[in-house]
Each structure stands twice: as structure tokens, then as C-alpha cells.
Symmetry: C2
Subunit: 436 residues, 2 copies
């Protein structure tokens, strides 16, 4: 094959944490990339908000504040978008595709909102749309889901996709810190933002859950369809209870087949210590997949950071550039079928529940009757005695229960009825259990 | 896009453990596969050695013992090869490609010998050659290495790629069985063959190491270039020593950058318990990757078995069929650069060594001098006293040493010199340590 020497023209949108690493690799690995692609890449412009900041390693002549003019110049082969957020990213990517450029993006927020629309635009313009970096940073998960497992039927995708919350829960577990202290520590170390709400409320994980669900189930799920609960309510007592049950608490993004529909949700969950996800610590991310034929799979790696995310971006750059060099585009919409997202009430999982009761004969039977009435069956039941036998409320014992697989609706009905019972304390803590 | 209804014609070579599962999925998931590909698949023939055996679920009219006639009929789109071994697999695949069919193969032995030749034939005939099932069964590793990480620089690929030996080492570790007893148990349970040599001598892992090295380092490594040591020499004392050093013993397939060359090897190694590979138990396989930008990654899953391997085959079937439907082939040779395989003597790792010494002043210094002379520096040194102080050989203490990173050649020189020393016992056990 004769080597083509005309460069493929590349525009970069954004020169922040990830963008600066992408620019560095494009420059330092230029010769290696040329060999892998079969043609050289030429960075022809970098769109930034301010072009008067010095950014070492990038030729200042490449900077422009007019991103729209850059993406519509008409001769671009690849546009790499690492600015994030919905706008102006969305308009710029649409304009770039309509001008004939293929897209590499790391923008999870945008994909979680506009996956179907962007896919349609890519298809209409016969260009590629790649986004490996949008979920779980450096972990190759998009290709495994979109290609390697495409001949199989996925039942569950379940992941630790937010490093900040995983670090906080890790510290709460390992060093028995409170949530507030662990969060402060994460902020001091730069693992959490000054405004940490996108992480600790689960919004970041929810955007990734939408993308994972879309890929795994060949459909199109929006962020707004994802049930989302963060980790701000996780207490030291929860951590201790999990430990006693042989579990650890992780913030999980979960997408599950539920008959013909799917459940897509983010919440803290107890995970058995024997499960592969339980050992994923610190800033690592991991995606666990269970499929009909392949069985259990797990993918582990660094979920954030400039260089790891840039690695994922560059993998897409080489793939898209190779397509471009051959005059093809390999983008395939995964959304060939619209699978309905089931309401959270229909989700099923095992549950852990604890509450205080009067230590009197018959109380356990009364509790069990409430569970039975809502068809929630109990797997284990531990009763422990509390200090202070002289307490006036008479609630001197604690029940720790684990249910078999049950419906969320049924569990909520049980909790509501327990709250009304005179022999049970007001505080009823429960947590979903995922994994076996 | 108008739906094309003409089926893509598929031939299956082999109807054993994997082939029968592939045939089952092609039939039971026909409608789902049609949706994912955009065209139906039609199984037009199954080549078997004997066509007088009943194979439930496959139309008997499809069977033929004339594989060559099947692959050269001229109208095939896809040929799936799951017969294994070098011949007749090689000739059949070449004939199939020359007749215009794209190939999906699970044949690690063939790829480890003929990767460059088969790649060239695929390219010359503009057909696809996919082989996800050839390494680590259901674990998607080929696409991550070939595509996701293609913009990065891989330093190390290191895997547990043989379930039989992982099961045996697991039993030796968990239940303190001897090698012989653990092997017998694996055979009784069907995890090991009656003739287990391909597994326990490391040959199976070595073929996979050759393929992994070829992919990770964009070159072409043959099985004969892979250094290979099996697990038959691993003793209960080794297992105990590993445990005392905070490690477990795993049979690893390792491919490492070594300056401009690569080291490719298979051997039992101590792996620190904190390393992600240490927790991979039983019949699971895992591939650990370390790259410049992405850092550490790991891929875990079932490494063998009919259904998991069929999952990997079917992922390739869909990908290749999609290419076929669009009239393209996306096969890319990774062997654009010929990286030399360094001799094993130039490999580096940490080492564990133990031997018995006289418990006299100055002995430790003499030992340390031998290490120093060969530029092997010691990381830790533990001395323990043996029972039987009255023993006549005077060797009453045991030294357990761990070295810093050292060259294999230098370590071998140290061991040879230790063997000559009068104050040291004849038995010198050592093992490589991989991972941090």
C-alpha cells in the first residue's frame, strides 16, 4: 500500500486538563501516530475561550477564540471536543459534522442528553462519532460493549464510574471517617471540587449510566430517565452495617434488563466483598458486565485525569483517522431499538433494612408478617440488643434484615407500614444490595 | 437506510464445544442478529470430521466432511473456524480468504505461528480476519489493544490466560494441596485434560503470549520466540514462601517493552496480594495492561468454555458481517513494525530467593557480596532458624531474600555462584516477582 503523505487535518476544541494532554501527545507521538494511521495528522487549530494565556507546548498561532469559524472551515477531517457541557459544544459538533468532519468527544453530559440526535447527524453526514473517553476515562468500555459483546445479550451493566465518590466511600470504610470529614479530605487533596454536588449527588454517574445503558441495550436513554440518589445520606452506621453483612458500600451506576424494559439507576449499594467490584478502590473506576453467553466480565482502570482521558481520546483519533484515510466511516448507531425505561418502582434487588424494636415476644413475628404481606421474603435476620435497658421508649433491640430479590415498590410499601407500627422506632434505614 | 434482505452466507468449520454453541446462537438469536447487522445471516454449511453423529439443534443437511469444498464454494461471506490446530485449519482459512470470504477464528495455536502470513493473505484479498476468541475466551482484549489503546504506548501486558493452571495454583494456595493432588482434582472435575501438558507446561499460555505481544507492540511474535516455564516445579514450600512475602503465585503470560525490544515470557511468578491480578481466582482469566498515558488497566472474565468463547466469536461475526454488508473490510495488520524479541537473559524483574546457610557471623555479608558482585541489589532479607540445631551439615538458618529489579542473566550468575559456596546448601529456590 503506497503511503499517503497528505496530512489529515485536526481541530481541537478546548485546551484544559484533557485538551492540553491531547495536544502534547499529537505533537510528541506524531511519527508513531503517522505509522499507525498510515497518514500524518496535522493540528490546524485549537479553540479556546481566551487566547492570551500561555499554554506551553502548543504553538500560539494555533489558538482561536472563534470556535465556530474553526469547525466550519470546510477542510477538517477530525474535530476533537473536550470542552464539556451542552452548549456551545452541541452546536459546534453539529456544525462540524455538517461541514464534513468526523467527531471525537469526551462530553458525557452532551451524549447523555443528545445521543440520538448526534448519532442521526453523524449518519446523515456519513462521518464518525466516537466517544470512548466519555465513560470511565481510560477504561476501554465502548468498543467492548458496542463490538465485542454485540453478538451476546447483556443482562446487567454495573459500574463504579465516579472516582470522587469512590474515594470518599473508601475513606469512610477504611478509616471510619464521617461523610463530611471524608469529603473535606477529598477536597483538600483535589479529588473533589469546591462545589462537589455533581459528584456526591450522583449526577455525573447518572450521565454515564445513561450512556452505558444506551450501549448495552442498543437503545437511547436520556439522563432525565435515570433514577439518581447520591451518597450524602450514607452514614458511619451504614458503613459498619455493611461490614457486618460482609459487604462494602459503593456508588453504582446500574443498567439492567427488566423483562422487555430496562432499569437505569444510580445509588449507593451494598456489594458483597467477594464481588469483583468490591475491591475497586480509590480513584479507580470499573465496569462489571453480565451477559447470557460470556457470563461475568469486568473492566478496571483510571476513570479520570488528563493523561488517562487523553489516552481514550487518542485511541478514537487513530481509529477515526484510519477510517478517514480509507474513505469510510464506521459509526453505527446502537439505538436500533427503543427499549422503554421502567419506572424505579419496578426495579428489583436485594435489600438491607435495619430498625429498632421492642424486645418482646411476638414482635419479630409481627415484623415478618408485614414483609410477607407485601411479598418481600427475608433471607437473613439478625437481632442485637442495645445498651440502656432502662430507656423509656422500650425499643431495646435492633433488627438487621436482608431480603431476597424484591421489587422497589414492595420494599417502599414495607418501609411505610413499618413506620406506622407502634413497636418499631421511627428511623428505618435501608440500602439496596447489588451483586452476588 | 433501506433494509437489505439478502442473507450473508456463513460457513462453520467445527461443531465441537465452541462450534455447537455458535450454531445454537446463530439459530436462536437470528432475528436479533439481523437487527444488529442490518441483514440476515444464513448458515449454509458445517464442516465436521464425521457427519454420522447426531448434533441436536443443527440441521443434519448442513453437515459436510468436505471442508475444502465448503470454503471454496465461492459465495461465502463469513467463515467461522473453531477446529483448532495448525492443519488443516491454515489451508482452509487461506483457501476461504482466496475465495473471498472474511474469517472469524478462535485458533490461538495457528495465530501464534502464522499471524503475519494470515494477515497478509487477508489484506491481499481485502477480507476481514478477526480472532477475539483466540485469547482469554470471552474477555474483550483484542479490540481494546488494537483500537482503544492504539493512541497510547503500552509498556506491559501481563495476563492470567490459562484457567487450568490458575485453578491448580488456587487450590495449592487456598487448600494447601500439593501440585500432584491439585492436578488430579482438576482432572477429576474436568478442568484439566487427561494429558495436561499443554496447560501445565505453559504451552497454551505461550501461544496467547505471542498474540498479546504482537497486538500490544504492533509487531509479529511467534510462539517459538516465547520463553516458557510451566508450573510443574511449583512446590508447597513456594506457596508458603509467597504467602509470607505478601504474594500469591500465578502463571503469567508477560510481554514487556525492554528499551527498543520486547521480552515475551510465560512462567510462574509471585504477584503481590495488592495487585489486581492477585485476586483473579479459579477459572477466571484476566489481562493487566500498563501504558504510558492510561496507566493501569485490567480486563477480567471467563477464559474458556463453549458459551463464553462463542460470545467472543459472535461479537466478531456481527462486526465482520456489518463490514460485509457495507462492502468494506476493517482488518488492519498491527505488524507495521518489527520489534525484536530480546533473549530471556535480558528480561528484568524482581526476584525471590531462598536457601539454607550456616548460622555463623559473616555469612550474611558473604552472601550479600555475591549479589553485589553481579549488580543485583537486595530489597529485603529475612533470616529464620531451622529446627534440628544438631544437624551435621551445619546449615541451621534459612535466608529469604527479595531483590530489586535485576536482569535475568545477573540473577542466574548469582544463583550459580551461590551453588558453589561452601556455606550454602545445595537447594536454591528462586522465583520471579511481577507487579507492584
Amino acid at each position: 500500500m503506497a503511503e499517503e503523505t497528505t496530512p489529515l487535518k485536526v481541530a481541537l476544541l478546548g485546551a484544559g486538563v484533557v485538551g492540553s494532554q491531547v495536544a502534547r501527545i499529537l505533537s510528541s507521538e506524531a511519527e508513531e501516530l503517522r505509522q499507525r494511521i498510515g497518514r500524518p495528522l496535522e493540528l490546524v487549530g485549537v479553540a479556546v475561550r481566551r487566547d492570551d494565556i500561555e499554554r506551553p507546548g502548543i504553538d500560539p498561532a494555533l489558538f482561536t477564540t472563534d470556535a465556530h469559524a474553526l469547525v466550519t472551515r470546510g477542510d477538517l477531517d477530525l474535530v476533537i471536543e473536550v470542552i464539556g457541557g451542552i452548549e456551545p459544544a452541541r452546536s459546534l459538533l453539529v456544525a462540524a459534522m455538517e461541514s464534513g468532519a468526523s467527531i471525537i468527544t469526551a462530553n458525557k453530559a452532551l451524549l447523555a442528553e443528545q445521543f440520538a440526535e448526534l448519532s442521526a447527524t453523524a449518519r446523515a453526514n456519513a462521518v464518525d462519532l466516537y466517544y470512548e473517553a466519555a465513560v470511565a476515562g481510560a477504561i476501554p468500555i465502548i468498543r467492548p460493549l458496542r463490538e465485542s459483546l454485540v453478538g451476546d445479550t447483556i443482562r446487567v451493566v454495573m459500574g463504579i464510574v465516579n472516582g470522587t465518590t469512590n474515594y470518599i466511600l473508601d475513606q469512610m470504610t477504611t478509616n471510619r471517617l464521617s461523610f463530611d470529614v471524608a469529603l473535606k479530605q477529598a477536597q483538600d487533596l483535589g479529588f473533589a471540587e469546591a462545589d462537589p454536588s455533581a459528584d456526591i449527588e450522583g449526577h455525573d454517574a447518572a450521565a454515564k449510566a445513561a450512556i452505558l445503558a444506551s450501549l448495552a441495550f442498543h437503545t437511547s436513554v436520556r439522563r432525565s430517565e435515570v433514577f439518581c440518589e447520591g451518597i450524602t445520606q450514607v452514614t458511619e452506621a451504614d458503613i459498619e452495617a455493611a461490614d457486618a453483612m460482609g459487604c462494602v458500600i459503593k456508588l453504582l451506576a446500574v443498567a439492567k434488563l427488566n423483562d422487555d424494559r430496562i432499569v437505569v439507576k444510580v445509588h449507593p449499594a451494598m456489594v458483597p466483598k467477594t464481588h469483583p467490584l468490591a475491591a475497586v478502590s480509590g480513584a479507580f473506576n470499573a465496569i462489571f458486565v453480565e451477559s447470557v453467553e460470556a457470563g461475568q466480565l469486568m473492566f478496571l482502570g483510571q476513570g479520570a485525569g488528563g493523561a488517562p482521558t487523553a489516552s481514550a481520546v487518542m485511541g478514537d483519533v487513530v481509529t477515526v483517522a484510519r477510517n478517514r484515510a480509507r474513505g469510510t466511516a464506521s459509526f453505527l448507531s446502537t439505538g436500533y431499538t427503543k427499549r422503554e425505561v421502567a419506572p424505579i418502582g419496578e426495579a428489583t434487588s436485594r435489600y438491607y433494612i435495619r430498625f429498632q424494636v421492642e424486645d418482646k415476644p411476638g414482635v419479630l413475628a409481627k415484623c415478618a408478617t408485614i414483609f410477607g404481606r407485601h411479598e418481600v421474603s427475608l433471607q437473613t435476620c439478625q437481632q442485637s440488643y442495645l445498651e440502656g435497658l432502662g430507656r423509656t421508649d422500650g425499643l431495646t433491640a435492633r433488627l438487621n434484615l436482608m431480603t431476597h430479590e424484591a421489587r422497589e415498590n414492595a420494599l417502599q410499601d414495607v418501609v411505610a407500614e413499618l413506620r406506622e407500627a407502634s413497636f418499631i422506632g421511627e428511623t428505618i434505614d435501608y440500602m439496596r444490595i447489588e451483586g452476588k
